[in-house]
Symmetry: C2
Subunit: 429 residues, 2 copies
Amino acid sequence: MTRLDTRDPGFAAGFAALLDTARETTARVDAAVAGIIGEIRAEGDAALLRLTARFDGWQPAGAAALRVTPEEIEAALAGIAPELLAALDLAATRIEQFHRAQMPRDLELPDPAGLTLGLRWTPLDAVGLYVPGGKAAYPSSVLMNALPARVAGVGRIAMAVPAPGGQLNPLVLAAARRAGVAEVYRIGGAQAVAALAWGTATIAPVDRIVGPGNAYVAEAKRQVFGRVGIDSIAGPSEVVVIADASNDPRHVAVDLLAQAEHDEAAQAILITDSAGFADAVAAAVAAELESLPRAAIAGESWRRHGAIILVRDWEEAFGLASRLAPEHLQLMLPEPRAAMARVRHAGAAFLGRYCPEAIGDYVAGPNHVLPTGRTARFASGLSVFDFLKRTTWVEASPAGLAAIGPAAVALAEAEGLQAHGRSVALRLG
Amino acid sequence: MTRLDTRDPGFAAGFAALLDTARETTARVDAAVAGIIGEIRAEGDAALLRLTARFDGWQPAGAAALRVTPEEIEAALAGIAPELLAALDLAATRIEQFHRAQMPRDLELPDPAGLTLGLRWTPLDAVGLYVPGGKAAYPSSVLMNALPARVAGVGRIAMAVPAPGGQLNPLVLAAARRAGVAEVYRIGGAQAVAALAWGTATIAPVDRIVGPGNAYVAEAKRQVFGRVGIDSIAGPSEVVVIADASNDPRHVAVDLLAQAEHDEAAQAILITDSAGFADAVAAAVAAELESLPRAAIAGESWRRHGAIILVRDWEEAFGLASRLAPEHLQLMLPEPRAAMARVRHAGAAFLGRYCPEAIGDYVAGPNHVLPTGRTARFASGLSVFDFLKRTTWVEASPAGLAAIGPAAVALAEAEGLQAHGRSVALRLG
């Protein structure tokens, strides 16, 4: 864990190092992935069956066996505790509500010159949702990726989830059912991404692929981009907590560790104006690590990437937070809304002393798929906008064209595009 | 030019070939670009000066000479015909109005459970705008890229435009001034993209880079992506015109050629229900090519990539247009709005017989930076949304947390993330 103090002469260099630390060393898998994509494009289902047997350790009986049946989903549901299904349902309902409120409206703008301008939002036809299998199978991630697509009106959502040894996580299937995903394939890796992008005899191609995955999945998404849309490739998770000394140090410590337990490469940063509070939080982190099941991961993240920054005043804190542009920002201050107004960049903000980031991971309603690695300077979390696209339109009458056409002709000729000019001039009569 | 008829048995194969034709063969410049980016990162301005001398054929006196002065911009303006400046101003005013109408509103949603959820839109701090130099210098493109950023509230727009032999296009400078871009550098190529992304002593880094460019510029944008945001890499331009026999064949022919004159790789497609009209348009294309200054380019595009598709009825036409998902769609039919409602994917639509696509390139108001190569299935044209990002937020009271916190704890524990659960449970008291 790094301790910095804005009063120290070495602060600028220390903070710059914190900003520049690359927390990820992704293995180069370009060639392997290109090979897998090539096999799927050339052989379709046959390659998909062969690669599934090789990488997931089970032999599908045939292409039809790749699809999870409604009976299997029902059977999975039967084994889940009712309170867990209720929690999933509460989460889904709140996520739906928040994303429904985001839906944009079409524009139709009549124009004094006699034209009408418009903007139409329409959903994508088909979306592929990648869901990691095995130990990192997160039902919350199924809800967060599938529900915005459903709310946006996407007609078809095809989900790919690898089944290591043939096994699927029942709660992932329950989340898919709650999110209205009826088309689930037990496939994974680069081969699943390739099958969704290019299609096979049994899997129709989609228009966009979203969802987290390992290095192979991320590289496959990069390589199919252009053929289909993709979401951004998420880096390790991160939080910045800005807290004054009135907070319970243990609350802050656990909030930091909740981020750190994701991954050794995760980053948790506390910014405070009290050296005493900083010490108390550091001590509480150490104490909590004693009893945390994922202490090995969380401890490693905290030691390697954790930081406590001592500031002279809150304006300084807000400036540093803007430069960090964190995925998650907790504002544990007396006036958190005023504080938020001063931080220019963050993926998601959590306001007040009773708002741990973890409620945003599951049940608050906003999306938990968020920009990492300082990309909140220019990027946003997943939303209905990821599943909608715009068509702008212009409707012109002869009078409307007469009003603005001559300017178009002048500009087209200045740019040396005479057919452009002629297409307008011909109609000016 | 390809002629297809939906009644022919070979239609499906012919149309599939049309969909799959790769119209672009981009040279592989990955290694060269990686080298240039490395030089800029290591040496900053010194490398920028050296590479500008090498690639643009002029020797800047020093780093300060890279920036275009206000006096140079004024001098450029003085030499431009007043009617051209007026056309530029009409275009800018209309583009501003249309993009201002797109601006989204923040959300604040009080919640029966006692939480408040919100979504805040904020502009990017700084944007880099790449503008090609030399013969392909398009002032309209400066307006289309810069004005949405200005309307979105971006504080700083830095423009890079190469000056081959030291020369800049006066109309490009006039467009920059009209768009409120005060920071203009005479730099280009991958070195300009690298300088904008990483910064040098004289050029502060930006958060996102937009604008068209050659293969080096496109590859440089790909390589700096992640460090900064980028816009999509545009492919060759394209239009689908759906027209009945009531149209003037010459109008349609010139509209097709206006697209074709951009580039040999451009694509212009007519869909009609009348074989006679199809013949008349084909003849008119041949006749127009006789007198078109860019006939060599437009003719080559039409021969290689042009197509006329004969359909049985308009529903068939709308279905084919949806599959083509064209950058530009002209609907020259009696009820163009009803027709537009039936085409699911298009970057921009132009409605009626008096609405040539060229007015959209310059003065209509919607953006002319649009998705190409069938990506309108999932992507949209440039807009204020490219220069804004969202921060979602949650504000929770103790009662609010008590209402939804237990569900978060249940889900966190099911996912094996105990610190997540503990961060909520601790506050439930």
